[in-house]
């Protein structure tokens, strides 16, 4: 933290002080309800209410959307979101529930939407009053996203949508969906167009949302079925047939490689949530024993913990070097690694935590004897969601190999 402060401009330093003061008064405190490990597993209305209230209060306090223009409900400042994020993390606040809105929809709407649409949609997206979801994947279109088939048929000034989206996180709470649709069946890429679609208001009236249960036993993602849903042409982003280009804006931000700093909070420590960084493995290994000694004395475990800590530190130092242009070879080389590395490191950490727990790692959430409330086995299971979602690790390696190293395309 000391490091970060040293690099602040005077405007950033003032804003940092402001955030600290604001957070000392407005941190929402321990929730009454169990808060899941990530927003992608929010299941109940009580959880959602608590988190939405927090996001609204942070937005009213000026900590969300700081770098967006004032006209669309932002703070109209430059390079301050990063500071707010630092401070929210430091203060161990809850996370924001509207992750897809903030991380994917907002940059896409900002860069590709008509002014009127931006002004209408973004303020409630920032405040968290409108939850957003992302309708990209379909039963037949996953890694090969451009093969989506959900179809929009033109009918006067309207579009009629039919089709089937799947794995749609947060659709069960969402007011709006960003959606990639086929508007022309004869061109794979140029036949795609991008829209925003009101979901909640159309439930039972062209839209059906069916929850899917994850391997953890949690819900959080859904199937979304469209049957003759009629929407206005003003909900289209960018030109007809430019859906793929618009989707690239979404994906870049989803993978932490976009140019806008996404508002992010988190770190809340409570009975149910846990910190899943590599450093937390040290205390776990000190508490537990094997062969009559602390697990923390086992040389192989020590080595593996250090490997995780080094990888985690390396990733955070990547962000820092990423701001020093003289030390970069290719502008996308570091940004495109973010999603791949953060998900794989989290998986390695959780997998090691399970080895450290030993037999007790068989105990799951709900068992009174489970160490750390069974959060590590849960985190381990959930880590596979993260190496699959938002483009699998294999797809990320293809992208890095092809776009950054210039290796031959594999499609």
């Amino acid at each position: 933290m000391v490091d970060m402060q040293r690099k602040d401009t005077s405007e950033q330093a003032r804003f940092r002080d402001y955030c600290r003061e604001w957070l000392s008064e407005h941190h929402p405190g321990e929730p009454e309800v169990r808060i899941p490990q990530s927003p992608l597993e929010i299941m109940t209305v009580e959880q959602m209410d608590y988190l939405q209230r927090w996001q609204k209060s942070a937005y009213d306090g000026g900590l969300v959307g700081c770098d967006y223009p004032v006209e669309v409900g932002g703070g109209g400042r430059k390079d301050l979101q990063r500071i707010a994020n630092d401070e929210m993390l430091r203060a161990r606040t809850p996370y924001f529930p509207n992750v897809i809105g903030l991380g994917m929809a907002a940059p896409t709407v900002l860069y590709h939407g008509q002014d009127a649409l931006k002004q209408r949609l973004l303020p409630k997206l920032f405040s968290g009053e409108d939850i957003w979801c992302q309708g990209f994947s379909e039963p037949g279109a996953g890694s090969d996203l451009a093969s989506v088939q959900t179809f929009a048929q033109k009918s006067g000034e309207k579009w009629i949508i039919n089709g089937h989206k799947v794995w749609t996180s947060l659709a069960h709470f969402a007011e709006w969906m960003i959606i990639l649709l086929r508007t022309d069946k004869s061109h794979k890429y140029d036949g795609l167009s991008y829209f925003v679609v009101p979901i909640k208001s159309a439930l039972g009236n062209g839209v059906t949302v069916k929850p899917l249960i994850k391997m953890t036993g949690e819900t959080g993602f859904n199937e979304v079925i469209f049957e003759n849903l009629e929407i206005d042409d003003s909900f289209r982003l960018d030109e007809l047939g430019r859906g793929w280009q618009v989707a690239m804006t979404t994906l870049l931000h989803e993978r932490g490689a976009g140019d806008l700093h996404v508002p992010r909070a988190g770190g809340l420590k409570s009975r149910s949530a846990h910190t899943s960084n590599a450093m937390s493995l040290i205390s776990l290994a000190k508490e537990l024993t094997r062969d009559g000694k602390r697990v923390a004395d086992d040389p192989i475990i020590r080595d593996r913990i250090m490997r995780c800590i080094i990888r985690e530190q390396g990733l955070s130092e990547n962000q820092r070097r990423g701001r020093v242009t003289e030390l970069l070879d290719h502008p996308m080389r570091i940004p495109l690694q973010n999603k791949l590395l953060s998900s794989e490191i989290a998986q390695e950490i959780a997998s090691l935590a399970i080895d450290i727990e030993g037999a007790a790692s068989s105990l799951y959430v709900g068992d009174e004897n489970a160490p750390a409330g069974g959060q590590w086995p849960l985190a381990y299971l959930n880590s596979y969601g993260m190496t699959i979602a938002a483009g699998t690790s294999e797809v990320q390696r293809n992208i890095l190999g092809e776009r950054v190293l210039g290796l031959a395309k594999s499609k």
């Binding site: 923390a296 070097r321 080389r333």
Partner: protein, 373 residues
């Protein structure tokens, strides 16, 4: 300033850039191969092969004194600038006493040894003679002793010793470990080169037979401990530069060579590991500049960052080397192909001043605390 989070300023960028141009113009890899790979014979007599004229030019450019403090007439550039420069020596796999001289410089600076630092500014190259034959990364592993004003015994694993004039010797005395500055041409000093795997370096044993020496410090252990993180930084920077060469060279090859009607890079069994090499290069480089920056900006973090850095770099050295040879196929396994030159330099650097497991064990002692009895 807000766009640049390190002290990596214009001077540092200029230095790095000019080193890169210098080597790409004057020392292409063909020239390296021609110079060091003349004799493939197993069991050949060890030799120190290098372009002394280029080293003279480098002395004139002032690079060997970049890290010497101003008080001794040096350029006193920050560690981030030095890291940037050394990366380019690694990228070129340039045979020279640069790394050794910089390593000696950091020890001499910690000992405030103005005279020897001035020798470096005058163009003399130096190396550390601080390792014993066993347990060589321990700070007190030396088997040299000092008594009645004379040095005796043998120092092992002295880097680039065939290219230097001075050595910095550590020796046990009846008090603490002590440090000395010795001219290799002094009476009673003999040098035997080791036969080593790496063709881009030399290494040797230096024996002392009642040698008179200039004392530098009577607090050898704490002086060495202060300098070591920066020495790990130097080796890591060399590894990072060499690994980027291995990556780019291999990428070029797999983009050109075709099998099954496709460029090799098309196949994910080739593509994905090369992406992993890139990821490891970036991890090492990011840790490198953070560590180097910490030397002045956050000294309390420098030690732990330096262990992270050398652990990361050592793993990178092994991994990038393995992939570079494997992805070249049969040609990559020949003496004629350039990749083995880097493979060997990297394998040397991988264990030099501590391999990855050793550094992770030291890091664990800091972060977890020592193993309880």
């Amino acid at each position: 300033m807000s766009s640049n989070t390190y002290e990596f300023n214009q001077d540092a960028a200029l230095l790095k850039d000019s080193a890169r141009k210098f080597f790409s113009e004057k020392f292409p890899v063909e020239k390296l191969h021609e110079l060091v790979a003349q004799d493939p014979t197993l069991g050949r007599t060890p030799q120190s092969l290098w372009f002394e004229e280029l080293w003279q030019e480098i002395i004139e450019l002032g690079w060997p004194m970049v890290a010497v403090p101003e008080s001794a007439g040096g350029l006193a550039m920050p560690a981030v600038a030095v890291a940037g420069l050394v990366e380019e020596f690694g990228r070129a796999a340039f045979p020279s006493p640069m790394l050794s001289t910089l390593a000696a410089t950091y020890v001499l600076s910690a000992a405030d040894a103005i005279g020897p630092l001035e020798d470096i500014c005058s163009g003399e190259a130096a190396s550390l003679a601080i390792a014993g034959s066993k347990d060589s990364w321990g700070l007190a592993s030396t088997e040299v002793t000092y008594s009645n004003g004379k040095l005796s015994g043998t120092a092992h694993y002295v880097q680039d010793v065939g290219k230097v004039q001075k050595i910095l010797v550590s020796a046990h005395s009846n008090s603490d470990l002590q440090l000395f500055w010795v001219d290799l041409r002094s009476d009673g000093v003999t040098l035997d080169l080791d036969t080593i795997v790496d063709l881009t370096r030399d290494q040797g044993r230096v024996s002392f037979h009642n040698v008179e020496a200039v004392p530098i410090s009577v607090k050898g252990l704490s002086v060495l401990a202060e300098a070591m993180p920066k020495i790990w930084m130097l080796v890591s920077a060399d590894i990072a530069g060499a690994a980027e060469w291995q990556l780019q060279t291999t990428v070029d090859y797999v983009n050109t060579r075709k099998q099954f009607d496709k460029a090799l890079g098309f196949f994910q069994a080739i593509k994905h590991p090369l992406v992993d090499v890139m990821i490891k290069v970036d991890e090492t480089r990011s840790l490198l500049y953070s560590m180097a920056n910490a030397v002045s900006a956050a000294p309390e973090k420098a030690l732990q960052l330096s262990h992270m850095l050398k652990a990361s770099a050592s793993d990178l050295a092994g991994f990038a080397s393995g992939r570079s040879v494997q992805s070249h196929g049969g040609i990559g396994f020949t003496w004629e192909c350039y990749v083995h030159l880097y493979f060997k330099r990297q394998k040397h650097s991988q264990m030099l001043f501590g391999d990855a497991t050793w550094h992770r064990a030291r890091l664990a002692d800091i972060l977890i605390g020592p193993v309880t009895a």
